[in-house]
């Protein structure tokens, strides 16, 4: 449905609304965004610029930084993708089935939000270390999780899971069971019903969950450093590299790596948001 937009002389992009106060609310968001997001980011860029172009280039192309960025972004994307699969299944089960302890499971989904990430990291490290409860049997099979990129993946899956579940859950809850019944009566197989009736309407929400889980995972520090082993060129993440620079009082160097992460994240998230908008249009949510 399209609302009638009446343009007035004062500002062509100003929409008439039954709730007045556009000027006031716009002022508030600009101020808040500036104080909380834009000014700190500008300071970051300024600090990075103080390093001088040659130093910036040398740092940005150093093998250790490139490797850390590759680990951070690669593992974060993989973790978000895995979270999409598990998150969808968890959300589906929570919405569609009633079983004893459903509310407990529902509440447990939010635990990664609430737990201090260091606690999560230490717990995961203890479990997946070569002598841990899960790590020891895995080690016998020749699989090493703790102190490898696989350990980073575990931590990032853990902290990102609630994002997918919580974005998909309300959309699934809103979908009538009658849609599936209609598809079944029209002769659709279960697979066809799932892929062409149930999943398409939740796809935009899935993409939002993926973006959030990814954004959270890229910047994650606390839980990862305990389980990653932090071996340079292998399992060292970019935020750790920033921390190392800070400890060496190389603030400009830290800022340069920070700006690199920022740019990469911004490009990826913008791309995901554009993709999501296109998806919504194609699926008829005009």
């Amino acid at each position: 449905m399209s609302a009638v937009v009446r343009r007035n002389g004062a500002g062509a992009w100003r929409e008439r609304s039954v709730i007045p106060g556009f000027g006031l609310s716009f002022g508030i968001i600009v101020t808040a965004l500036s104080l909380v997001v834009l000014i700190p980011l500008a300071a970051l860029v300024l600090k990075a610029a103080s390093a001088g172009p040659e130093d910036i280039w040398a740092l940005a192309t150093s093998r250790r930084v490139l490797s850390a960025l590759r680990v951070s972004f690669g593992v974060a994307l993989l973790a978000a993708a895995i979270n999409v699969v598990f998150g969808l299944i968890i959300a589906w089960v929570l919405v569609r089935y009633d079983f004893p302890g459903r509310r407990l499971v529902d509440a447990a989904v939010d635990l990664p939000f609430a737990l201090p990430t260091a606690v999560a990291g230490i717990a995961l490290a203890a479990l997946y270390a070569p002598n841990g409860w899960i790590g020891a049997p895995l080690a016998q099979l020749g699989i090493k999780v703790g102190y490898t990129p696989a350990g980073i993946l575990m931590a990032l899956i853990f902290i990102g899971l609630p994002f997918v579940v919580r974005t998909v859950q309300p959309v699934l809850a809103e979908m009538e069971a009658e849609l599936e019944e209609a598809a079944a009566l029209l002769g659709a197989s279960r697979w066809k019903t799932l892929t062409s009736v149930v999943l398409p309407p939740v796809l935009p929400a899935v993409l939002t969950g993926f973006t959030l889980a990814f954004a959270r995972a890229v910047g994650e520090y606390g839980s990862v450093i305990f389980i990653a082993g932090n071996i340079p060129m292998v399992s060292e993440i970019a935020p750790l590299l920033i921390f190392i620079r800070l400890e060496q009082f190389d603030y400009a160097g830290a800022a340069v790596i920070g700006v690199l992460m920022l740019l990469l994240s911004f490009i990826l998230i913008l791309g995901l948001n554009l993709l999501q908008a296109a998806l919504r249009r194609r699926l008829g949510h005009v």
């Binding site: 009658e178 002769g187 949510h285």
Partner: protein
């Protein structure tokens, strides 16, 4: 379309369904002839939608069985039942265009029975013409009005060439004017396509106008099945009489074939039963008489417009509720005037 040969008889045998401790259906038997249009009529909670879902196979009966063309429906998968169902909410796929919605059942077929894409497109066009929505292929359901969505849902159900068509409150969500138009249209469409059709409704006017036969459900039991004329003119139970159209309820004493009110006869009951009974009289079965001519004696409490005629509410001594009386002549009794009422037609049921 050769619908007549596709339509099958449906037989329901002693179907029962319990939800927890609540019996939604208490043993219902109903036989529907091929090509027949049957209304399942009843108040909310009477079990009519439960029965429709049992027939569709979306729910299982605890007892009894349902036969399609003599075959127990339990052995058929949902796909093999070939049932066209229109849900009350229409259940259109919002992320698909009108054309994709209608084509869904054809594209969902296994590859070897799936028609080629060109034929699917042609069938979608023909169905849109049938439901009088030509040219709307590319629209999304959110861009349609309620009446249009309803017809798209019907076209989608018809696309699979159903053996039985089930409609759950097909006009429930529409406004009064659209309901009336769609009712006549659906009747014409049924005459044209000839599917065995069951529709659920709580609107007695809709059921009587549209259906070949009306099955009236109350509290999980079938009260009466018959043609609209039969159930309206000869209600089998007091419930049917009260539910179909308006009827005034007058408690009477039955004696020697007469219904006595306040000791004097008001209506010839026919059957020779005795004891307390109930007399149901429709508003158009009263005639005004001089006061004191009959035991139904009272004063006019008010007169209102009621469509083409006017209707008086008459307060009668000894009755808690005022009687609705249709006024046909231009000469109407004044409010407050004392009148007598003569009963020209009614239904008598023994018991309280």
């Amino acid at each position: 379309m050769s619908a007549a040969q596709r339509s099958v008889p449906v037989v329901i045998e002693q179907a029962s369904r319990q939800f927890g401790g609540f019996a939604a259906l208490k043993g219902i038997s109903l036989a529907i002839a091929p090509g027949e249009l049957v209304a399942l009529l009843g108040p909310s909670g009477s079990g009519k939608t439960t029965l429709l879902r049992l027939i569709a196979g979306l729910d299982q009966a605890d007892q009894g069985r349902i036969l399609f063309d003599g075959v127990d429906a339990d052995v058929l998968s949902l796909r093999d039942r070939r049932i066209g169902m229109v849900f009350q909410s229409y259940a259109l796929f919002r992320h698909m265009t009108v054309a994709d919605n209608i084509a869904f059942g054809l594209r969902a077929r296994p590859r070897r029975t799936r028609p080629p894409e060109s034929e699917i497109r042609q069938r979608v066009g023909a169905l849109l013409d049938l439901v009088q929505l030509p040219g709307l292929e590319a629209r999304f359901p959110s861009q349609l009005s309620g009446g249009q969505r309803q017809r798209v849902a019907l076209a989608r159900a018809l696309a699979i060439e159903p053996r039985v068509l089930l409609l759950d409150e097909p006009f429930g969500a529409l406004d009064a004017k659209v309901r009336k138009d769609l009712r006549a249209w659906l009747r014409a469409l049924h005459d044209q396509t000839g599917h065995t059709t069951l529709f659920v409704t709580h609107d007695q006017e809709e059921a009587l106008e549209l259906a070949d036969r009306v099955a009236i459900l109350n509290d999980g039991l079938l009260e009466q099945v018959g043609t609209p004329d039969a159930v309206y003119d000869h209600p089998a139970t007091a419930f049917v009489c009260g539910f179909l159209g308006e009827a005034n309820h007058i408690p009477v004493e039955l004696k020697g074939g007469e219904a006595l009110f306040d000791g004097s006869p008001v209506f010839h009951a026919g059957a020779n039963t005795s004891g307390p009974g109930a007399l149901y009289v429709r508003p158009h079965h009263f005639r005004f008489d001089i006061p004191g001519a009959t035991a139904l004696d009272g004063h006019v409490a008010n007169v209102r417009r009621h469509g083409a005629i006017r209707r008086a509410e008459v307060a009668v001594r000894g009755l808690a509720r005022k009687l609705d009386v249709d006024i046909f002549s231009a000469v109407a009794p004044a409010v407050g005037e004392r009148v007598g009422l003569r009963v020209t037609g009614g239904h008598v049921f023994a018991g309280a």
